[in-house]
Symmetry: D2
């Protein structure tokens, strides 16, 4: 892509970077590592905030991370002015984690004009797959978003 496209993508990535530090994604403590239209990487430290009663990380944390990383990737991959809204989040829980750094890596399965499918894998520092989810997103105009 040309340099103005790249500047534009960089500006959008910077704007999305800020989004990690507000609202629900801030509650997770998720920090952006790499934000591009083909891969989103983010990390957080699992601790007492994130657990369910048995002391392992709550499935909703993983689904939240899948939602954020896939949504950010979809926004970066969509044409400017198009809002991508998550409509279906399907997250599978593969191995319990209790604490420590976890890394999420989202990539597109399909980027279409009207809909995307993104996938996000979450691993621990030993490289083990902890959870994996997919988010289906629909394109909408700025006024009518659904959720996500």
């Amino acid at each position: 892509m040309g340099s103005s496209d790249r500047d534009d993508a960089n500006a959008r990535a910077a704007s999305l970077r800020a989004a990690f530090f507000t609202g629900w994604t801030k509650q997770v403590g998720l920090e952006p590592v790499e934000l591009t239209s083909s891969v989103v990487v983010a990390q957080w430290y699992a601790d007492a905030r994130h657990v369910q009663p048995h002391g392992i990380v709550h499935g909703g944390v993983y689904a939240s991370v899948v939602e954020t990383c896939c949504s950010v990737g979809a926004l970066l991959a969509a044409p400017e002015g198009t809002i991508m809204v998550g409509v279906e989040n399907h997250t599978s829980f593969l191995r319990p984690a209790r604490e420590g750094r976890l890394t999420a890596r989202a990539v597109p399965v399909q980027v279409g004009r009207r809909a995307h499918l993104w996938e996000c894998n979450i691993t621990d520092d030993a490289g083990r797959l902890i959870a994996s989810g997919r988010l289906r997103l629909m394109a909408t105009d700025a006024g009518s978003q659904a959720s996500g």
Copy 2:
């Protein structure tokens, strides 16, 4: 059921009630309203903690609430000593919400010996359906839980 069974179920419900006020479910601010083996009702007030950058409630909040309500129901419906762990959380986002009280209501689709399927609908105070999800859970013994 007999009165000792009922006492037992009441004791477990009391124990699970406490679980709402620790870890990730406390981060949501979810409060239990009704906890039985056939229905779980809980509520929270959506505010600035829960939103994504467009000011609407983040999809991960709904998935987290689905996860908690279905997991609590499954634990109440399972024989004592059986741990039910969520393995697949599938949450659909149906209508954006910005703030105010939201109510989650989880019911069993199937309660088997080795696996359950639970469903949770989330509505606003106008009775509109905001999100709806399903959680597949597997039975395990106390030592080997997966997530959830």
Copy 3:
């Protein structure tokens, strides 16, 4: 609704009825029982055509039935000229069935302008729930459908 609307809906139901007897839905042997914009009921007889190697009905049969019933319902519920295409089919298998009549009943979870979510339960003649699935559909114009 007025009588011309009803005539129109009846005409569309008749047209969709024919669709049961072509292509993949004919392979299943699925027969329409009730086709309206708020409920779709259909039945088939499970036999040797439908099984996997252990002699029980193959999960793909249930997913196919979910897909057909929810798609037909969505078409009946959408404004005329709008094509609803399935984008995500999520089917849960709850109890094995070997043979005999099975009944599918699909109802809308949400009917929006741009997207629907439908749900379909499949039961045997003893009223036991065998499988249950959900189909997310997106509205499109007649020229650009995705699948379904």
Copy 4:
């Protein structure tokens, strides 16, 4: 693995190869190309049998192929005597196909002692991704299978 393990795996693959030519998988017309514990590849020719009323391949065909390929892979990856039964099939439809050869390729996301998660991508001869699904399977003993 040792040569007797390999012989054993080959014997199981031969047995599963036969399974493609019975019941529902035969209805699809799916033919095995490669059957191992780490990848399952199969192909079929989409034609008039497989379509929905708009002339494109019915979503249930893709879900059926996902179910078969992931189930066969899970059986090959599980210890002998363990039956893996599909409990949740989640298939996403990405691009319409009308006719011609389609190729399914299933790989494990996670192979655990008690549960697996497999993923299956379906592409056309131009290499385009047409559909993609995931199957969650649970281990069971030979007598109590659920579906699949």
